[in-house]
């Protein structure tokens, strides 16, 4: 088992390597950091632009492979270069990952749990009112683009705040800047900021998972072992949870592991709209700002996440399904 996972790991590592190379080359050859400087008024002298760009290893006058070699040399030592503003990429990335995690960890777990719950209810009550209702909910949510959902949530919060006469829910940033107070007040402030973006992600995720969970559960509902569980005296609800859901979760677990891994860089819209300075926002800003080193670094990070997600998925599957374990 360990050997198998190791082999799998090496395979993923090769993929990460390839993705890294392609990511850097694409970013370096298609982005144009020079235009950032040339657009200034008055334009700085070309020599100083060249100096700055060379200093950051993003000068388009240097052959792209040479830049790549320099960059790679840094990466191997754990140095991802500097942003176009001159800060070390790694420092900023650490901050940004923290922001994204604070937003997404909770949201993913809640989204997954809610999705499973909704899916199970839909399956158990197939073709009854609650199934139709949850189906409608998930299709409407799936059909709503995240940015629209986020804007709608913002509007709802605005109404709520107005009705309450005070600000219950904030919709910009992670916390109120410069707020002083006890840890309790700070925590409440953070929660007030967290609710809306979390809700946006949870709804979208839950809608998505619930469809898969419903199908997985329906497969299990007709199975013989569920009948056996009832035949030995378990109540229907017990049998459904202990034997039905447990088995129906197997395909979901791998799915969930992958989704979570990829979400960390995929919450761009939510981060942008609610003003959370996380990874997703950073990536889009970097592309806009021709920040080659940042784009390359985020690509590496995303590739590494796929690796982690893949390993997680394998482990989760093996943990849940004894049939795939090797003894």
């Amino acid at each position: 088992m360990v050997r198998f996972l190791l082999r799998r790991f090496v395979g993923y590592l090769v993929l990460v390597l390839i993705a890294t190379c392609l990511g850097y080359l694409l970013a370096a050859s298609s982005l144009d950091p020079r235009s950032n400087f040339e657009g200034r008024n008055p334009p700085p002298p070309p020599e100083s632009v060249d100096r700055v760009l060379s200093d950051l290893n993003i000068n388009d006058k240097t052959p792209v492979l040479e830049r790549f070699a320099t960059w790679m040399g840094g990466v191997v030592r754990g140095d991802f270069g500097r942003t176009i503003g001159g800060e070390p990429v790694l420092d900023e990335m650490g901050r940004r990952i923290g922001v994204s995690l604070r937003l997404l960890l909770l949201a993913s777990i809640l989204g997954g749990a809610l999705g499973v719950l909704v899916g199970v209810v839909g399956a158990v009550k197939q073709y009854r009112f609650s199934d139709h209702a949850t189906t409608l909910f998930s299709f409407v949510t799936l059909a709503t683009p995240v940015f629209l959902l986020a804007v709608l949530l913002k509007l709802g919060a605005l109404q709520l705040n107005r009705a309450a006469g005070t600000t219950i829910l904030y919709y910009t940033g992670e916390a109120t800047p410069g707020l002083q107070g006890s840890w309790w007040q700070l925590a409440v402030d953070r929660v007030q900021h967290l609710v809306l973006p979390t809700l946006a992600i949870v709804l979208a995720q839950a809608a998505f998972y619930s469809r898969y969970q419903r199908n997985a559960m329906l497969d299990v509902l007709g199975s013989d072992f569920l009948r056996t569980a009832q035949a030995k005296g378990l109540r229907r609800r017990q049998a459904l949870l202990k034997h039905g859901l447990r088995t129906a979760l197997i395909p979901m677990a791998t799915f969930f592991a992958y989704q979570f891994g990829l979400l960390l860089t995929g919450a761009t819209f939510v981060e942008k709209i609610f003003g959370w300075h996380g990874m997703g926002e950073w990536f889009v800003d970097a592309v806009n700002g021709n920040d080659v080193n940042v784009v390359a670094a985020v690509t590496v990070f995303a590739a590494a996440l796929v690796l982690v997600a893949g390993m997680l998925a394998d482990l989760a599957h093996a943990a849940l399904d004894p049939r795939v374990r090797i003894r």
């Binding site: 005296g233 034997h243 394998d314 004894p322």
Partner: protein, 703 residues
Amino acid sequence: MTAGAGATAREPTTTDAAGPVLQVADLAVSFSTERGLLRAVRGMSYEVRSGEVLGIVGESGCGKSVSALAVMGLLPTSARVSGSVRFRDRELLGLDDPQLSAIRGKGISMVFQDPLSAFTPVYTVGAQIAEAVRVHTETSRDQAARRAAELLDLVGIPDATRRARAFPHEFSGGMRQRAMIAMAIANDPEVIIADEPTTALDVTIQAQVLDVLRTAQQATGAAIVMITHDLGVMAGVADRLIVMYAGRPAEVGSVDQVFHAPRMPYTLGLLGSLPRLDAAAGQPLTPVEGAPPSLVALPPGCPFAPRCPLQVGVCVEVEPGLDPTSASDHLAACHRSDEIEAGALGPADVFPVPPPVEPPIAAIPREERPVVLEVRELVKSFPLTRGALLRRRVGTIHALDGVSFDLREGETLALVGESGSGKTTTVNEILALAAPMAGSVVVLGRETSTLETSTRKETRRDLGMVFQDPSASLDPRMPVGDILAEGLRAHGVAKGQRRRRVGELLGLVGLDAGHVSRYPHEFSGGQQQRIAIARALALDPKVIVLDEPVSALDVSIRAGVVNLLQRLKAELGLAYLFVGHDLSLVRHVADRVAVMHLGRIVEIGAVERVFGDAAHPYTRALLSAVPLPDPRRERVRRRIVLEGELPSPLDPPSGCRFRTRCPLFVAVEPERRQRCVDEDPMGRPQGEDHLAACHHAELRNRG
């Protein structure tokens, strides 16, 4: 080894003074379908007492399983159930889930058909049995686990404490069914409902499981309701029998009454269509023509009337009630049961028996007939991988290890053996028409390893193939005409000729030539298999490989298909390679038989020699495990129960591969045993056309 101990004589059951434990009265189950109301069960009534075994027998879709699930309250909520189910003095119909779940598994428990799908794959077997204990009694986790191991030990699982920690997929089919029984008896139930408990199992394992069921009954004193389509099993197990047809009981009585004095034509038909191990070969079976009616729109009269040769006017107008015959406890639903009784009519009197067919070529001695298929020292091995997702090679399975036989024109050679013995691998190797790993396959004088692409195609013409399940082997999106013409087209037969040949083929297998544009699903199972046979015949092959050709079909349908195969063989001078596990059927259809065990042929010869005086202890055990559809003979049948299961083909025993299970090995003197351990036995002549690979075949009567 318990040779002889397994004689199936049963003590007459003492009637429980407290009355029946389970009483079902006028049970009816229906489902709403798109086509209308499906009446799955109508007017089902029975009662069982402690220690009694009630058999419910019938074909698929006759309502036997549905009625059992109705008793347990396990039908889907869409089912409408009426009537009465009384357990002890309690009415079960109408109870809610918490009330019923207190009875399920404790008062009434159930053994299901397919124990692989009936166990939850993600929990260990022991945990699932322990769960059954803990649901009904306050028990600690440890105690329940110990009890689970005890129960597994009781049903004969060796090393039970360790095996309890195994997952269902790590058990063999027989072991899973034992574990299923262990789970059913965990709370000393008063009634055990067993739904086709041995259907998916090999005959030797079936015998073991039936024994376990008896042990379980003795341990709990429970009443058993046994559901099966296999009349042979019933004869040895049941006290009373209900024969069901189209959702209702057609005949009810003691096993002796039903088997020896059937009063309902359907029962007669079922009995007549069964091939029997103890009957002489060559006599055609009496088929019941037609198929069971749709339960959605039942005609007003007797549901069996359209298939019944005794049908008269009243039969199609009034449905007969289930009325007592001359014996008050023997009921039959037939307007003419009195006449059947008065005339003492048997199956052959009621159903038309086709004349016996004898191929003209049978007149020529076997040695003078040309060999159409020759297999010499065939070897095949597979890499064994573990895990569905995470694959890795853990060893090599020697699926075939030196298999040799020949098949001559106009004869049927049957390959028999337990699953895993290599029957299907042999067939696949022959049909591949490629060079085998070792050994040779010669089809009509052509060695397969030397075939070129064109000659291989030419050779394929001469090899027909019929598979087990016609609903899977016929493309559902192709009309029958195209299915039959496909092979013809592939071999360049002109269009006009093709059409003519398709009509001819349909006629040959007894189907209407006007049906060419219909799709497979519009035909019944028996008709589908006839289409598959017609397809195999399309290119006028000399040899047809029949892989379990009737085992997916219902009993009453089988006889017709078997008779058709026999007739075609005689008329067209075909040779059949017949793969089967039903030894009674093999006895009926085969001229010669090869018994396979762990990738070897252990005994081969003329069917009357091998079945009449089996020389290899394995063959003797196989034959003795076959239940006879005759309660009187069943009671005195001496069975050889093989302990354990087929050894792993990964690591076969040294010397004789059968010795670990061999009753003869145990019976002979220790000095003789050494030879079995050291020396791999070769086939030795046991008389004319009869070889057996056993060192001590002469001493066979000791086993």
